[in-house]
Every structure is written in C-alpha cells, then in structure tokens.
C-alpha cells in the first residue's frame, strides 16, 4: 500500500481510532502510522471518543461498533454531524448490524490490513 498523499494543507491525514480492544487498537495504530497517517488519538471508551471528536481536529475515524458493551452510535453521530468520514469495524454479521449507523461504511472483523487501508482511502474527502 502506497503512503497516502498529504492533505491539501500539506500535512498527514489525521485519524481517530475508537476501539476497546487494546491489542487491536495497537495494531491499527501501527498499521496507520506505517502507512503514513497520523493517529491523533486512541479511544477505548465512548466518552473518550466524544471528547476527542469535540476537541481535536481529525480527518477520518475508525470506529468499533461496540465499546465494552456500549454502542458507539453517539460517536458516529458526532462524526457525521461534523462531516468527518468514518469506517465502522464490527464483529456482528451484516444482518446483526446496529441500525444506529445509517449509511456507514462497514468492515467485518477480523479485517485484513490491506482491506482496511483500501477502505480508509475510499472514504477520504480527497477521493
């Protein structure tokens, strides 16, 4: 996977990771950094995710649908209302998906790194 081109302002794309499983968050972060993205935060809980969305500037996000038993839907709404594109990672099968993520781009766990990077590329605002 080629490193992503920089934003129009000439900096790296800033990505928020919302994932309650530390191992997966770590691997995601490694993957994104390795691919040339900047990870501006890793949130393992909904409150932390909302705080980052509110206070930081991010260009895209990767959301785990279920954060320690709590739906990540409010984070999805917060992102959508700011026009920030995001991917939803989920262990649920398609028919079990939460209806609270209208129009979201879903990725099934476990997910191959190249699929994830490709999907992230496809939702970037410069695409």
């Amino acid at each position: 996977m080629n490193p992503p081109k920089a934003t129009p302002e000439g900096r790296a794309w800033r990505i928020l990771i919302v994932e309650d499983e530390p191992m997966l968050a770590f691997v995601l972060e490694e993957l994104l950094v390795g691919a040339g993205y900047a990870v501006i935060g890793v949130a393992t809980r909904l409150e932390a995710a909302l705080a980052i969305i509110t206070n930081e500037t991010c260009d895209a996000a990767i959301l785990d649908m279920n954060l320690a038993g709590v739906s990540a839907a409010p984070a999805a709404s917060a992102l959508a209302s700011r026009g920030i594109p995001f991917l939803v990672l989920s262990g649920y099968s398609i028919d079990q998906q939460d209806k609270a993520f209208p129009g979201a781009h879903y990725l099934q766990k476990p997910c191959r790194p190249e699929s994830l990077l490709k999907a992230l590329c496809s939702i970037r605002p410069d695409q």
Binding site: P22, M23, E30, T44, S90, K109, P113
Partner: protein, 492 residues
C-alpha cells in the same frame, strides 16, 4: 296402541273397551273386580313397562311379564310376597320417600324416580308411576305401580355428565385462552379463566363483545374477514397478534380459530396462546448469538493481530512456538471469562491460569499475595496477557530460567477517596539482568497494551537482581462493582 298405553300410564283414562265374544265390553279402571283384572292382565302383559299391583297389606297380587324380567322373579314365586322381598328402594334425597307417601295419601298417585335394588344386588334406575287402587265404594285396596327401567338412560346421562365435567375442567384449567364465538353475530359467548386473566376483563365483560373490541383484531372489517375465511376453510391462524390487556400490558399471541358444528349449530372456537415469553426468549437467544458472534470475531481479530505482531518482532524459526504460547494465554483467559459468565475474574484465578505451565512452582518460587478481588472482563484480558508475557520472559531470561529465582506477585486495593488498584511482578535470584536493546512485542503487551486495558499506567524496570513490573489504575476502571470497596487484605 302406543298412544293408548301412554294415556293409560299417565292416568288420562278411566275406562277401557275390550272386544269380547259378545262384542265390545267396557271396563272401568275403578275397583279391582275380577273382570278388570283379567283385562289388565291381557293388556299389561303386552306392555314393556313393569306393572306390579299390591294389596293393602303390601302383598303382590299381580305382576306382568316385564316385571318378572326386570326384577328377575317368576309370577308363581312373587305372588303373595311383599315388595321388599322383590326389591328395596333407595331414594335420591332423604325427603323423597316422605314426599311420595304424602302424594299417594293426598292425591292417590305419585310419579318419580328412585333406585330399585333387586335381591341379587342389581340396581335399577326406576321411573315409577304409582296409583292407589280403590274399590267401588272408594276404599283403598292397594296400589298399582308402572315401572320403567331408565338405567340405560341414566347411564348415558351420567356419561354425558362425566364428559361434561372432564372437558369443562380442561377448559377451566387450560394454559391457553379459549374463546367461543357465535359466527352469526361474531360475539363472544364464552371465555375460559385463562383468557379473562390474560386480558384482565371479567367473564361478563368479555361475553357479548366482538374480537376487535378486545383488541384481538384491528377492526370490525377484520372480524368479518375472519368469519368469511372460516366459512371457507374452517380454520384461520394468526401468528404474532399484539393483544392489550385492560392494565395496558401487551401480550403477543398466536390465535387459531376453528369453525365447529355443535349439534347443528355452528360455533367458532379461538385458541389464544400467549407467546410473549417464547418471543422474549427467542429475542434473548438472538441477542446472545449476536454477542457470541461479535466476541468470536473480536477474538479472531486479536489472534490475527497477535500473529502479525509476533512475526514482526521475532525470528522466523521460533515464530510458531511464540505464537502458540500467546494463543494459549488468550485461550486460558477466555476459559476464565466464560466460567465466570463474562462477569469478571478473581485475580488469583487469573494468575494461576496464566502461570499454568509453572503450577509446581506456585507457593515455592512463585509467591502470590493480595486480596480477593475481581477484575472486569476487559481488564482481565489485558492483565492476563501481560502476566503471560512476564512468565514467558521469566522462564527464558529471568527468575524462572534457573533453579533458585523467585517471583513475587502482589496486588492491593488502596484505600483512598478514589480507591486504586495496584499490581506488581517482582523477580529476584535470577541471572543478572541486562536491559534489552530492542523493544519486542512482549514489552508492548506488558506496557501500553496493559495500560490501555486498565486505563492506567505500567512501569517496567530492569534492575540487576531482577525485572520488576507495576501496574496502577483507578479501581473503578479495573474491578467489578461488587468488590471495589473491599479493603480486606489477605493471602490469595
């Protein structure tokens, strides 16, 4: 002839015409002259009913062949005997006998039912018509009984009664609601107790209502449609109808309506099954399956991540061994969580599970100390993986790689306004420790991964006498609700 007999039996007639050699002769039924008796004998022998006449001393002076058959006697033996020598009476109610006597005395006749018990014990349900016999002067000379055997009728009446009781009981105790409707008016004509309880309507409130009026169908048109369908197919079935009781409680019901014929009259029977509980449990199973799927996929994602990271940091020949070790650790943690219904894991159990390879050393070279507290599922996974890495490392390079080194594992809950949870792994007596030049994946696991799982901090120190690892976090992020306030300390 039947009509004539009926008239005689019911006392409508008091004279009879008999064709004799000299033309018709008239016999009045008053008095007991020889002619009358002869005539009676001729007529009464043809009758299916038993006829017995007794004199004023209660001795039998006449009985017909039907009476012989009914009571199992012969005329020759019976004549002259008293009635109790032929049969005894049993009355339905104790007052019945007195009432019969009174009727005979006052009106000269009695009709009614009782049981005749023959000498051989056989019981006969008898419908008797008894008349006082009088002579020409009006003096009582005895009584005449016409007895019909109604045992068979009684039996079938009794069978009907038993059947009625049996099916009534089914109706009353059924755990399905049952409604009976009149197809012409579509109104409820009966409802069983289960139905009234389900809805909270009384029986009286239900009777006369249509199904849509109790919310079972949505409107009158639906009611009409049901009856129309029933008349074509005899059965209509509805799954998942919402049904609201008077108290507002919502039931999901399944309704099967059948059209039956009850002795020429059509009736609709609706069986209403409350499937609320079944639906709820189906929903729970569905949610549970979704959760299982979610967790399994999550775990596979973790395994994939561990595999990638393990490959990144180490050499290829030891890859399978290193990956297997880590998967073992994940599996051990998974077992514990499932055993505790995903509610949390006792710290000492977690330590024992992750150090299962060193079971023999626990209590001698591996010492544990800490209170009995439970970690949340998320914390248990992160801490468990860290303990697994620490043990693997100790057995390769640290205190468990020789014969005398020791590991102290301790944990405590600090008593403060905001209680904290602290855990430490301290090695001693192993080979001299040198800080590794390059950080491996193991360090990531005991470092930032452990930190993330408890939302706390982890510290690793490479002292010469041994490695030490400490983890600190707010108790509320790590421990399950039931033991956050526990401060008792003790050996685990």
């Amino acid at each position: 002839m039947e009509e004539t007999l009926h008239a005689i039996r019911s006392g409508q007639v008091d004279a009879l015409v008999v064709e004799g050699n000299d033309g018709p002769q008239i016999y009045t039924l008053q008095g007991l002259d020889a002619e009358t008796n002869r005539f009676r004998g001729a007529i009464l022998d043809q009758v299916n009913d038993a006829v017995i006449a007794v004199n004023h001393e209660n001795c039998i002076i006449y009985l017909n062949s039907a009476a012989e058959r009914l009571y199992g006697v012969t005329i020759s033996k019976a004549l002259g005997q008293t009635l109790p020598q032929i049969y005894n009476c049993r009355w339905g109610h104790e007052d019945d006998e007195a009432a019969a006597m009174t009727a005979l005395l006052e009106r000269g006749e009695w009709r009614g039912e009782n049981v005749h018990i023959r000498r051989d014990g056989i019981e006969i349900n008898a419908e008797s018509s008894i008349t006082v016999l009088r002579d020409v002067s009006g003096q009582s000379t005895g009584i005449l009984s016409v007895i019909r055997d109604v045992t068979e009728r009684k039996c079938s009446e009794n069978k009907v009664l038993v059947s009625e009781i049996r099916y009534r009981r089914l109706f009353e105790t059924a755990h399905d609601g049952v409604l009976l409707l009149n197809p012409a008016t579509r109104e409820i004509i009966d409802a069983n107790p289960f139905m009234t309880e389900m809805l909270g309507y009384s029986h009286r409130q239900l009777v006369g209502k249509e199904l849509f009026e109790i919310g079972l169908l949505k409107d009158e048109a639906a009611s009409q449609e049901m009856v129309r369908k029933l008349s074509r197919t005899n059965q209509v079935r509805y799954d998942d109808l919402p049904l609201k009781g008077t108290g507002g409680q919502l039931h999901e019901v399944e309704v099967v309506a059948n059209l039956y014929d009850e002795g020429g009259l059509p009736v609709i029977q609706c069986n209403v099954r409350d499937i609320t509980a079944r639906k709820r449990s189906e929903e729970q199973v569905r949610l549970l399956m979704a959760e299982v799927n979610h967790r399994a996929k999550n775990l596979l994602a973790v395994v994939l991540a561990v595999a990638q990271q393990t490959a990144k940091y180490g050499d290829l020949p030891s890859y399978v061994k290193r990956l297997s070790d880590r998967i073992d650790g994940l599996a051990a943690g998974q077992d514990l969580l499932v055993r505790n219904l995903w509610q949390g894991v006792e710290v000492s159990d977690l330590v024992k599970a992750q150090l299962a390879h060193f079971e023999d050393l626990i209590g001698t070279r591996i010492l544990m100390h800490g209170p009995c507290v439970q970690l949340t599922a998320a914390a248990a996974q992160g801490v468990g993986m860290a303990l697994h890495e620490l043990a693997t490392n100790a057995s390769k390079y640290g205190a468990l790689s020789n014969f005398e080194g020791q590991v102290h594992i301790s944990w405590r809950v600090t008593a403060a306004a905001k209680p904290g949870f602290s855990m430490s792994w301290t090695e001693s007596g192993g080979p001299r420790v040198v800080e590794p030049v390059r950080k491996g994946f193991g360090q990531v696991i005991i470092g930032r991964m452990a930190e993330a799982s408890v939302l706390g901090t982890a510290e690793i120190r490479f002292h010469e006498e041994g490695l030490s690892w400490t983890l600190n976090a707010a108790a509320e992020n790590v421990l399950t609700g039931r033991n956050q306030n526990e401060s008792a300390q003790g050996d685990a």
